[in-house]
Amino acid sequence: MELWYTENHTEDVKFSIRVNKQIYSAQSEFQRIDIFDSKEFGRFFTLDGLMMLTEKDEFIYHDMIVHVPLATNPDIHNVLVIGAGDGGTVRELTRYETIEKIDMVEIDKMVVDACIKYIPQTASKFNDSRVNLFFEDGLKFVRDKVDAYDLIIVDSTDPFGPGEGLFTKEFYGNCYKALTKSGILVNQHECPYYADYARSMKSAHKRIKELFPITRVYQAHIPTYPSGHWLFGFASKIKDPINDFNAEKWSALGLKTRYYNTDLHKGCFAIPNYVKELLESADSE
């Protein structure tokens, strides 16, 4: 018997992984949650049929969404994570002893419960004493926070489901308000290649740029995400990810990482011309 998981990356492009076994399937109030085992990517987890993470390549995404802002500003003490129900982002954050508090806001408790049970590789640090879990809408949570966080990481789904509110101007603006004066906002920024994703990327970029004085986009190669070329948004009030980056200081922490390194930190902000053009065209729209 052949069993394949397939995600439509576009109407005309499919991405498939041979599945050994389906481990879990449930419909929550917000979305359908599935977990599978596969030979090539190990255990993997999808929401509404869209790939969230695989055991084999999740390190790339989590390295890049966490270490880039923390290497830019080693003085980050209070962190807010929005989404990220699989726990990978929290896992990387807890490696920094300088961090005092990690508030994680995930709308769907069933995602966290399923990941704790079936994906211990990422959901391993929810019991760290610095971590506080909140199961509510991210936009709602951040609305009444002022000057409270040094870093906000938006580790959301795509903007066509429960994550829609996390791509809006009201959300980014409330994040600005919730950040301290040297605060940084990092978000998963979709892919530039396929038109539907590129549209989301452009509108997110435009909205953030209207609110934050410093905005950059950086990239990573993630084999199981559409086109494999994924972007992250970096926005901040005063910290520049390249000019304020202190490679020695980060290296002195002695953190071992499989994807991120200090050369890559500088290199990941160098983006292809067609992506630059997309971002520039977003500015003028």
């Binding site: 936009l139 609305r143 009444d144 829609e164 509110g165 101007k169 009201e170 603006g173 409330n174 308000k177």
Partner: protein, 481 residues
């Protein structure tokens, strides 16, 4: 008890389609066969249901089968003597109420904050308005309901009036003491007409203001499409069992289309079923969302979302808590400015903004996620756009000076004057600031400096001025005296 699970019009349409009847009647697109672009645009199912009256599908103007059955089910659902399907919008339902009871020169008692359809109905039938000044809340600058004292006095002074028209609720969710008004009117031999364009839910939710039929009113215009979930333009007219329904049908048939849309009719059918079966739960959820939003808005600062606390036992006898009205001027922004910022900056469309307030409609279709977006955006407007608090204009209500009937003024010999020079003349046309769409001037009323000031201010703040022939509203048509 009849079975509210039924949807007789929708079912008749489905049966008709299944029978594969060959069409040599209208509509000419022949269920889309002749017009592929239409099918592409709206979908096969939708276009195949766009049919014409015929024996199996019944006839809107003289219903005997499925439409009659749908009317009966609706009458039962709304606790009315009879229910009519109205396909020219609630505008038509409101006008039919007035056509039914007013002939030329008959008086009708009504609050000034009526919808323009009421004034237009008077232009057509020649009725004469006797306006009651609705109370005004000076803090928010909104017009309220009618006071019982004013009703009693007006009824006493105008014993020949045929009817009293009541908004239930107003756009802002404010209700008059409808039961008492019914009692006073009936004692004086007058009918009570209820404009329930914003009141469908009153018939189904718990713990909401009383509905027209329950209060004993004679006729009610209910805009099912606004908060009840049917397609835009579909509406209902309800009459109590004291009104001769077939007489009313004759009035309705004067202006009702003879090519009633089966899409609209089926949508009324399906909406009625849903409201009857699930309305209680739906409006409970709507009330909870609105109450939650009201509390959260009031925490932001600067905004004031008003609710039950404005009830005063008279001009605010009851408040419809599904309405989320928010006063904005303490933030230094006119309602219309907040309305524009929400749309242009945040992609959020709300129902209207006037000089001091915005109104968000919360209904059947809303979820927590959208409410959070609205709240998030309002909190951002507070952070990024707030200014020094603005004083409220003295009030938005301007007492009308009725010189002649709307019909006489509308059909008189007219002269266009620059609005700035028109004080003292009689308006021959309707002037409204939209939003909120309540008349500033009706045909037959004296133009005053106060009115000209109001128009200037509303225009300056970005309200669209509507109703006048000159679409820029620099000129106004006046009655040549």
């Amino acid at each position: 008890m009849t079975n509210q699970n039924e949807t007789p019009i929708y079912d008749a349409i489905q049966q008709y389609i299944k029978n594969r009847i060959v069409s040599f009647d209208v509509p000419g697109h022949k269920q889309g066969k002749g017009h592929k672009d239409l099918v592409e645009a709206f979908g096969t199912k939708c276009i195949s249901m766009d049919l014409n009256s015929s024996k199996p599908l019944d006839n809107l103007t003289h219903p005997t089968s499925s439409i009659r059955r749908a009317e009966d089910l609706a009458a039962e659902a709304f606790n009315a003597g009879h229910a009519f399907l109205i396909l020219n919008g609630t505008t038509a339902a409101v006008q039919n109420m007035i056509f039914y009871c007013c002939r030329k020169n008959d008086k009708i008692i009504l609050p000034r904050n009526v919808h323009k359809s009421v004034i237009n109905a008077m232009v057509i039938c020649g009725a004469e308005p006797v306006y009651i000044n609705p109370g005004v809340n000076t803090e928010f600058g909104i017009s309220l309901g009618m006071s019982i004292e004013d009703i009693k006095k007006t009824v006493r002074d105008n014993p020949s009036a045929k009817a009293i028209l009541v908004n239930n609720p107003t756009y802002y969710g404010i209700c008059s003491n409808l039961k008492e008004i019914v009692r006073i009117a009936h004692n004086a031999g007058m009918l009570v007409l209820v404009d329930e364009a914003h009141g469908t839910h009153l018939y189904f939710g718990d713990d909401l203001p009383i509905s027209g039929m329950e209060a004993g009113a004679d006729i009610a215009a209910v805009s099912i499409h606004k908060t009840g979930g049917s397609l835009t333009q579909s509406s209902m007219l309800l009459v109590s069992d004291k009104i001769d329904a077939e007489d009313m049908r004759q009035t309705i048939n004067l202006t009702q289309t003879t090519s009633g849309s089966y899409l609209l009719m089926a949508s009324l059918d399906i909406a009625r079923k849903n409201l009857f079966l699930n309305g209680k739960d739906i409006f409970k959820k709507v009330c909870n969302l609105a109450e939650y939003a009201r509390n959260e808005v009031n925490k932001i600062g600067g905004f004031r979302a008003f609710g039950n606390e404005i009830i005063n036992g008279d001009t605010v006898y009851a408040f419809d808590k599904t309405k989320l009205s928010i006063h904005t001027r303490a933030m230094g922004l006119a309602g219309i400015e907040v309305y524009d910022i929400l749309r242009d900056e945040f992609g959020i469309q709300i129902e209207f903004g006037d000089i001091g307030n915005i109104l968000a409609i919360i209904s059947v279709g809303d979820r927590e996620l959208e409410i959070e977006r609205l709240l998030g955006a309002l909190s951002e407007i507070h952070r990024r756009f707030r200014k020094e608090p603005m004083n409220m204009l003295e009030h938005e209500y301007i007492n009308p000076l009725v010189i002649m009937s709307p019909q006489k003024a509308f059909y008189s010999k007219k002269r266009a004057l620059p609005i700035e020079d028109s004080a003292g003349h009689i308006s021959a046309e309707l002037v409204m600031a939209y939003p909120p769409g309540i008349p500033v001037l009706a045909p037959g009323e004296r133009i005053t400096e106060e009115i000209i000031d109001y128009v200037r201010y509303a225009k300056e703040k970005g309200c669209a001025m509507m109703g006048t022939k000159d679409e820029t509203m620099n000129n106004i048509e006046t009655v040549e005296e």
